[in-house]
Amino acid sequence: MKFMAMCSSGLGSSFMVEMNIQAALDKIGAKDVEVDHADLGSAGPTDADVFFVGKDLENSVSGFDDVVILDSIIDQDELDLKVKETCLRLGIPLSD
């Protein structure tokens, strides 16, 4: 299973979201999830199973199947919740 955070240049903010997704995954004990980040231009729909973007980029990811839209990309609580929901939805085993 692979999660991917995206932003316009794929450098700073998507990287931060990637690190925060990893932290969220560690918290709930989800294993075997790979996390990566990329820019909108080079990431394709097959590069990951779930894509995470801020709501300002909502219109740029219409070609992707499974997208999680974040209201605020710096809100760790929101991210924790949405990562957990995603894991439950996809049946990823959690430790607790």
């Binding site: 240049s9 931060m16 801020g54």
Partner: protein, 482 residues
């Protein structure tokens, strides 16, 4: 013996190996498994070589463009694109730049630990670009590589500590919290936007978010698309001015001039794309280590993050700010053209990133008026800064590309202009800045203590007599004013 030493020097002056070693240290400090350490180190090594390859592609696209531009307009045309300039710079000054970047991060953590400026600068890409610029300026000013690394690291740490601090009062207005800061080399321009918005007294209630912005503008969020399109327009316009015979005879080797312009713009965008890929690989191993270590050493640290963290707060303000900043850049280009100086061609990515954030900040402080005027001020600033930096960058100043954001101007012009007086001036200048940082931190600490004491006093007397509290508060504030 001497030959062994020689080999060591060769290894350490090879930036790709140096950066890989930095990643190795980071991975070891995180106590990663052996396989991860090897993977990360090798990827970083290759990542740097990818970056160098991208630099060659960018240079190959920009060189003929520069010739053509000066032939047609009689002045030098400069593209302020951080990726486009940083590639060639790292090829020449890579060792100093990589070590300034690394030790700059270390000193940043130390400053966050011992001062009241608790900002940990996590935007590794712009920190790397800024370190590269500092390396160039110091070495052009006569520093040896090792002197440049020593003083450059301190200078880099000062600017990465101060820049988030100047934006933070406005960031609090945007986010409503004080736990995240903005870490970007556009920081001073974005803070200027907030200041302009405050001075022009727009109404924050009259927000840009009540506007309807056409969705068709969304493509500017994809940086590869926007770089290719904007450079395409620029190349085609200049090729049209130059005319088919000039381009086909002197530059394109017979290829149709419009086709040549389109291909060159595409090549420029491809080069930037490759450089970004390289930077991404390098940072992937280094930034998490830096984050992990700083979290342990500075418990109350605020991470300073890249500009798009502001974008979700006011997506319309991003577009308003981008367009306003770009208009300022276009007007600036016209004025510079008339003055006959080198011409700074508006860097679309810089106007989108820093103009967008300026729009968000301006909107939070002063609504639509704040977003428009604040971002316009940013646009003027990022047109002037690259122009003023050019003479301080030595041969790099003739490279047809340059550093684009406002902080490059703040630190670059400070060091560069001091450098006119010689090395000693620069060293004194860095020490003065460091002292000023500690002094301000101390001042903030005292003010905070005073406020705390006053709040305590107010709380204590509030139960007995509220009017007395008010008068004692007035007395307090007149005390501090005198």
């Amino acid at each position: 013996m001497n030959s062994t030493l020689h080999v060591f020097v060769q290894i350490f002056s090879e930036p790709s190996i140096l950066v890989a070693l930095i990643a190795l240290v980071g991975l070891l400090l995180q106590r990663k498994p052996g396989a991860d350490i090897m993977k990360g180190t090798v990827k970083t090594f290759v990542g740097f070589l990818v970056l160098s390859a991208g630099a060659a592609v960018v240079v190959a696209a920009l060189d003929p463009f520069g010739d053509m531009f000066s032939e047609v307009f009689g002045v030098q045309g400069i593209v302020p694109n951080n990726e486009a300039i940083v590639g060639p710079v790292l090829q020449e000054y890579g060792t100093a730049a990589a070590l300034i970047f690394f030790f700059g991060m270390v000193v940043n953590v130390i400053l966050a630990r011992i001062t009241r400026f608790k900002y940990i600068y996590l935007s590794g890409h712009v920190a790397l670009y800024q370190s590269a610029m500092i390396a160039v300026i110091l070495i052009v000013a006569g520093f040896s590589t090792w002197e440049a690394i020593l003083w450059g690291s301190i200078a880099e740490a000062i600017i990465t500590t101060v820049s988030p601090a100047v934006v933070q009062p406005f960031m609090r207005q945007v986010t409503g919290k004080d736990n995240v800061a903005l870490g970007h080399t556009g920081g001073f321009g974005i803070a200027l936007s907030g200041l302009v918005a405050r001075l022009t007294k727009g109404d924050p209630e009259n927000s840009t978010e009540k506007l309807k912005v056409p969705k068709s503008l969304g493509f500017v969020r994809d940086s590869t698309v926007v770089v290719a399109l904007s450079m395409g327009i620029i190349f085609i316009v200049v090729a049209l001015f130059a005319g088919p015979s000039y381009v086909q005879d002197n530059i394109s080797d017979g290829q149709n001039y419009i086709l040549w312009a389109v291909m060159s713009a595409g090549q420029f965008a491809a080069g930037v794309f490759i450089i970004l890929a390289g930077v991404r690989v390098i940072l992937a191993e280094i930034v998490p280590a830096f984050k992990g270590i700083s979290e342990k050493l500075v418990p109350d640290a605020k991470p300073a993050l890249d500009v798009p963290i502001t974008f979700t707060f006011a997506p319309n303000a991003v577009m308003v700010g981008f367009l306003s900043s770009l208009v300022a850049g276009l007007i600036g280009m016209g004025v510079l053209g008339m003055l006959g100086t080198a011409v700074i061609i508006p860097g679309i990515v810089a106007h989108f990133m820093t103009g967008g954030a300026s729009g968000v900040i301006g909107n939070a402080v002063g609504g639509r008026r704040g977003a428009v005027l604040g971002a316009f001020a940013n646009g003027i600033l990022i047109t002037l800064v690259p122009l003023l930096l050019l003479p301080l960058l030595g041969d790099i100043g003739n490279a047809n590309a340059t550093f684009g954001d406002s902080d490059y101007g703040v630190i670059g012009l400070y060091l560069g202009w001091l450098g006119i007086g010689g090395k000693a001036f620069i060293i004194v200048g860095i020490l003065v800045a460091l002292l000023a940082l500690f002094g301000t931190s101390f001042g903030i600490g005292r003010a905070a203590k005073k406020r705390e004491a006053r709040d305590h006093a107010a709380e204590g007397s509030a139960t007995s007599d509220s009017s007395e509290t008010r008068s004692s508060n007035i007395a307090d504030s007149s005390d501090s004013a005198s």
